[in-house]
């Protein structure tokens, strides 16, 4: 039984289609991520769910209720904006209490206190937004949305303005709070790593459509097309003709072949590779070696195209630039697109 349903939603500005017949469903308590390049319509979809934009066609349901034509305040949806949008004339306490005051609920104080504790802002109650750091402002924005106990929490790139370390911390914390409250969450990011670490489910978007959805590992290991393959995992993608030529074998059928850089292995040309049953071999030479922390990335030039090969960076043999090598390609890791 799905908790959030987006049914064939289409939306355009002027004469440009931004959301093109989007359908997706979420289970209760799920942490879903909309992942895609800048301008692919992530924010627009989120704002449509919040009611800040009207959709042209289609409907949106939350908890079985059609909210397509409700105003934002009737939707029971919480949202955290990329730029926080805190109220500058109110201190932390009043910012968080704002929604409760509007709804005129009881025990405002207790609920606000509890939320301040949850986002770890004790002692900052009387500070104004401009007196807080970016990370703290983000927590206030989160608390302000969560205190309303919304049915769905929408997060529009909430961490993108923060530096790497605070970002990692807040990712963990966000995840902890989300699990603790068991709140259905839609998170927007264009950072695939962030999407992988945080999500139960990822929706990869491109040019206003959802091109693939699934768990992080599904998306990562079985991309459905070239766009996902390239966007998600730095896959090596080459056309089938080129691939046939490289491996001197035309067993595989399809249009393109995608191979993850970390399943490839390198051996020197004089080495005898016995296991030719399960692998293919491609000859080439090392064009470039680069290092990103714990990963060594080789760029291997072959007669037809270049391949990336990733190794964990540990002591042991390392190929020099210009060295002639064979790339060992495991047959069962080749994905046909």
């Amino acid at each position: 039984m799905s908790y959030v349903t987006i049914d064939q939603v289409t939306k355009g500005y002027d004469n440009q289609v931004v959301l093109n017949n989007i359908s997706l469903t979420l289970k209760k308590g799920e942490f879903a991520t909309l992942l895609g390049q800048s301008g692919c319509g992530k924010s627009t979809l989120l704002r449509s769910i919040a009611g800040l934009e009207d959709v042209d066609v289609g409907s949106i349901l939350i908890d079985g209720i059609d909210i397509t034509n409700l105003s934002p305040r009737q939707r029971e949806v919480g949202m955290v904006f990329q730029s926080y949008a805190l109220f500058p004339n109110m201190n932390v306490y009043d910012n968080i209490a704002y929604g409760l005051k509007m709804k005129k609920v009881k025990d405002i104080n207790a609920r606000v206190k509890k939320m301040i504790e949850m986002v770890d802002l004790i002692g900052k109650e009387a500070s104004y937004p401009h007196q807080l750091s970016g990370g703290q402002q983000q927590r206030v924005a989160l608390a302000r949305a969560l205190v309303m106990e919304p049915k769905v929490l929408l997060l529009d790139e909430p961490l993108s303005a923060l530096d790497a370390k605070i970002r990692k911390n807040l990712q963990k914390e966000l995840k902890r709070i989300q699990k603790e409250l068991d709140i259905t969450t839609i998170f927007v990011t264009h950072d695939q790593e962030e999407a992988m670490t945080m999500s139960d489910r990822i929706f990869v978007m491109n040019k206003g459509i959802v091109v693939q959805s699934g768990s992080p590992s599904e998306i990562y290991t079985t991309p459905v097309n070239t766009f996902v393959a390239k966007f998600i995992g730095n896959y090596n993608v080459c056309s089938i003709e080129v691939f046939h030529k490289l491996v001197r074998n035309s067993e595989l059928k399809g249009k393109e072949v995608a191979i993850r850089p970390e399943v490839l292995q390198l051996v020197s040309t004089d080495e005898d590779t016995s296991d030719l049953q399960d692998n293919w071999r491609i000859e080439g030479f090392i064009k470039d070696v680069s290092m990103t922390g714990n990963v060594l990335r080789y760029e291997v030039e072959t007669v037809e195209s270049a391949f990336h090969v990733d190794y964990l960076h540990h002591r042991g043999k390392m190929f020099e630039q210009g060295a002639h090598v064979q790339i060992i390609v495991p047959k069962n890791e080749c994905i046909i697109l």
Partner: protein
Amino acid sequence: MKSSMTFHKVIIGLLVIYLIIPLIGTLLFSIAGKWDHTILPENYTMKWYMELFQDERFYDAFKRTLFLIMMTVGLSVVIMLPTIFIISVYFSKWERLLQATAMLPYGIPPIVGAVGLIKLYSDGPIQIAGTPWILVGAYFITILPFMYQGIRNSLRTLNAVQLVDAAELLGATKFQAFRTVVFPNIISGILVSTLLSVALLFSEFAMANLLVGGRFETLQIYMADKLNSSGHLTSAIVITYYSMILLLTGTVLKLTFKKDKGPIMSNKKRILSIFKKQYRQKNTALEGEN
């Protein structure tokens, strides 16, 4: 580092002297008895002030001017604030049109405007030529650029659209969002525009003279009239209404900032600095008239 500080101080000092000397001159002249061939007056007297404060016409003129200004500025705030808010938040397509309209008054010289207005409103359905109402209308247009810029810039810097979005998602109606989130944050900006407008209107002469003249004697017209009889008296008038404006704005500032700590405090400096500009404007205006 240190020498550049002194440099700054000297510049600011010179500026202050430049701004304040005409004012001191006017003050001295308004309390001078005999002042012909000495640097400072030979003797002082309060007789110009006595004369001024005993003149019924002065009080009447003052009241009329005050009425005009309050009417105009009040009307402007009440009409322009919602208009600009609604247009910039919900009809951003039309913003350019509003901007062009608001800038229009800069392009029309007062004389041309006044003649046109008199022609337009001396017959037809709205016959208000020669009444104070035509002046209220004209003044509304005169201060439009100030009000528009002030209000729009405040909304821009605040990122009002997103704050309203956030407030609405938290359960506020559009009106509640405006009242609790937008208005408190732009009030100081509006105040600046308002005070600028008040100052501008206090020294406006051309429109007042052409549109209503002696039929509705405002302070400016009264002053122009007195200028023919005595320069001392005119100086006394100038000093009097200077003090009035100072008192008025001082009170408004005090009231506005008393309860706010934190974020808006920094605006106080901004407002004060704008006041300095105002002085200069006024001085040049007065120099022109005297």
